[in-house]
C-alpha cells in the first residue's frame, strides 16, 4: 500500500469516527443559519491569516536575534536574551496578552489592538524560536567551525556559508511545528477583542443560537492553514537532506 493511500484511509477512518460521534449527540442541527453568516467566517479567517503571517515573520526575526544574544559572550547581552526567553516561556500567553494590552500598551498609549496582538504573539513565539535556533547552532560540531577557520573564512563568511546552511536544515522541523502552533495560538487573541477566526465563529454560534455547527468549519479553516505549512516543511526537509 502506498504511503499516500494509507494517509488518506486513516484520515477517512478518523473522519468517520467523528461523524458517528456527531450523529449520536442529542442535538437539533441547524446548518442553514451558519451558511447565512459565511461572510463573518471568511472575514475572521482572513484576519487570522494576516495575524499569523505578521507574527510568523516577526517571531522568526525576534527568535534569531534572541538566539544570537543567548550565545553572546557579553554578560549583559546574554542576560537580556535569557531573561526574555525564561519569562515568556514560563508564563501563559493569555496572561501575556492581558498584561500586554491592558497594562503595558495602555501605559505607553499604544491603542491599536491588532498591532499589540501581533507584537505579543510574536514575542511569545520568538522565545520558543530562540531556543530552537540556539539548539540548532549548538548541534553543529565544533570541527565544522574549525574547518571553516582553517580554510581562512572570516567569522561572517563562516556563518553564512557553513554554519547557517547546516543550522537551517537542523531546525526546520521544529520551526515548522512552532509556526503551526502560532496559527492555532492566534485564536487566543480574541481575549483582547481582536476579531479573528475563532471569535467570529463563536459569535456566529451566539447569534444563531447554534452552538456546535460553527466548529466544523472552524476546524476546517485552521487545517487549510496548517496542513500546507506541514507539507511545505516536509518537502523542504526532503530537499535539504544530506543523502541523495
Amino acid at each position: 500500500m502506498s504511503r499516500r493511500l494509507a494517509h488518506i484511509l486513516v484520515a477517512a477512518a478518523f473522519a468517520a469516527l467523528v461523524a458517528v460521534a456527531f450523529s449520536r449527540v442529542n442535538y437539533a442541527w441547524n446548518w442553514s443559519a451558519v451558511w447565512e453568516y459565511r461572510d463573518k467566517f471568511i472575514q475572521g479567517w482572513l484576519t487570522t491569516v494576516a495575524l499569523s503571517l505578521a507574527a510568523l515573520v516577526a517571531s522568526t526575526a525576534i527568535g534569531a536575534v534572541a538566539s544570537v544574544c543567548l550565545q553572546s559572550r557579553n554578560v549583559l547581552v546574554e542576560a537580556v536574551g535569557r531573561v526574555y526567553v525564561e519569562l515568556i516561556r514560563g508564563t501563559p500567553l493569555l496572561v501575556q496578552l492581558l498584561i500586554g494590552f491592558y497594562v503595558i500598551a495602555n501605559a505607553v498609549g499604544l491603542e491599536n489592538r491588532f498591532v499589540v496582538g501581533v507584537l505579543v504573539l510574536s514575542l511569545f513565539s520568538g522565545a520558543y524560536m530562540a531556543e530552537i535556533f540556539r539548539g540548532g547552532l549548538a548541534a553543529i560540531p565544533q570541527t565544522q567551525r574549525d574547518s571553516a577557520r582553517a580554510i581562512g573564512l572570516t567569522p561572517w563568511q563562516s556563518l553564512r556559508l557553513v554554519i547557517l546552511p547546516q543550522a537551517v536544515r537542523l531546525v526546520l522541523p521544529a520551526v515548522a511545528g512552532q509556526l503551526v502552533s502560532l496559527v492555532k495560538d492566534s485564536s487566543l487573541l480574541s481575549v483582547i477583542a481582536i476579531s479573528e477566526f475563532t471569535l467570529n465563529a463563536q459569535e456566529v454560534n451566539a447569534v444563531t443560537y447554534s452552538t456546535l455547527e460553527s466548529f466544523l468549519p472552524l476546524a476546517a479553516g485552521y487545517l487549510v492553514l496548517t496542513l500546507p505549512l506541514s507539507a511545505l516543511s516536509r518537502w523542504l526537509e526532503g530537499r535539504f537532506r544530506y543523502e541523495a
Binding site: 442529542n26 495602555n106 477583542a193 463563536q202 452552538t211
Partner: protein, 254 residues
C-alpha cells in the same frame, strides 16, 4: 463535589438513590454565581439551586461552565438546567425552554467618564465603541440594534469593564446590578446609567420537551416565593443594592 457533600449533610433524608440534579452556571457573577474564599460555589443562584434540589429530593451537582457554553451543555445533556442569571428571550426560546421568570431587571450602561454618551440611543452613532460580553443579551442588543457602532466582543466581564475604564470603549452593556457594582469599584473612571433601556426577566433554562422537570421547577418557584425565599436571598446577598435601587426607583425585584 463540595456542593454535593454540603447538601447531603443538610438533607440526610434525601433519597440517595435519586439521580443527581446537574445545574449549570458560570461562577464569575457575584453575588448570584460566585465562589467563597474556600472555593465553594455560593451566591443567590447557588442557594436557589440547593433549594430546588431539596424540593425535588435529588442530590445537587453544580457544573461551572462559561456563560456562552451553558446552552450547548444543556442541549447535549451534560446539565439538566441552567440557573445562571439567564435572561429569557424569544430567540433563546427557539433553542431551549424557560421556567416562569424569577427576577425582573434590565440592561444598563457602564459608561466611561470621558465619554459623552447619555443613553443607549447615543451609542448608535458611527465612531462609538461598545464593549459586550460574548453570548449575553447585551451582545445581541449591540449587534442587532446598534449597528452604527463598533462592537468589541470580550469573553469576560472584567476585561469588558477594563475597556471602558481605560477609555477604549464608550460603554459596556450589561445588567443594571453589575453595572452598579462595577461603577462603585471604578468610581473615578466610570459613570453608570442605571435606568434600564431594555427590561429583562431571568428564568431557569431547561431542555425543550423536558415538560416533567419544567412543571416541577415552576411548582418549586411558586412555593419558594410564597415562603419568602426570595426576600431572604435579597437580604442575604443584596441588601445595599436593594436599598440603592429602591431609592432611585429602578426596577430590581424578584
Amino acid at each position: 463535589m463540595l456542593a454535593i457533600s454540603a447538601f447531603l449533610a443538610l438533607a440526610a433524608s434525601a433519597a440517595t438513590a435519586a439521580e443527581p440534579l446537574r445545574v449549570g452556571m458560570e461562577l464569575s457573577y457575584p453575588p448570584f454565581e460566585m465562589t467563597d474564599p474556600q472555593g465553594r460555589p455560593t451566591g443567590v443562584s447557588v442557594r436557589l439551586a440547593e433549594a430546588l434540589a431539596k424540593h425535588l429530593g435529588r442530590p445537587l451537582v453544580i457544573e461551572n461552565i462559561a456563560f456562552d457554553g451553558l446552552i450547548p451543555a444543556l442541549k447535549t445533556g451534560r446539565i439538566d438546567c441552567i440557573i445562571s442569571s439567564l435572561t429569557a428571550t424569544p430567540e433563546r426560546s427557539k433553542s431551549i425552554a424557560f421556567s416562569e421568570p424569577y427576577l425582573r431587571t434590565g440592561l444598563a450602561l457602564l459608561v466611561g467618564a470621558r465619554s459623552p454618551v447619555q443613553s443607549a440611543a447615543d451609542l448608535d452613532v458611527k465612531g462609538r465603541v461598545i464593549a459586550v460580553k460574548k453570548g449575553t443579551t447585551g451582545h445581541r442588543y449591540a449587534t442587532t440594534a446598534l449597528k452604527q457602532a463598533r462592537t468589541l466582543v470580550l469573553d469576560k466581564e472584567n476585561t469588558a469593564v477594563l475597556e471602558v475604564v481605560q477609555g477604549k470603549a464608550d460603554a459596556f452593556i450589561y445588567d443594571s446590578l453589575s453595572v452598579y457594582q462595577n461603577q462603585k469599584r471604578h468610581a473615578d473612571t466610570t459613570r453608570a446609567i442605571l435606568e434600564p433601556f431594555r427590561e429583562e426577566t431571568w428564568a431557569i433554562g431547561l431542555r425543550q420537551g423536558d415538560e416533567p422537570l419544567r412543571g416541577q421547577v415552576n411548582e418549586f418557584l411558586k412555593a419558594f416565593r410564597a415562603a419568602g425565599g426570595f426576600e431572604r436571598l435579597g437580604d442575604e446577598f443584596l441588601p445595599e443594592e436593594k436599598r440603592a435601587f429602591r431609592e432611585r426607583g429602578i426596577p430590581f425585584y424578584f
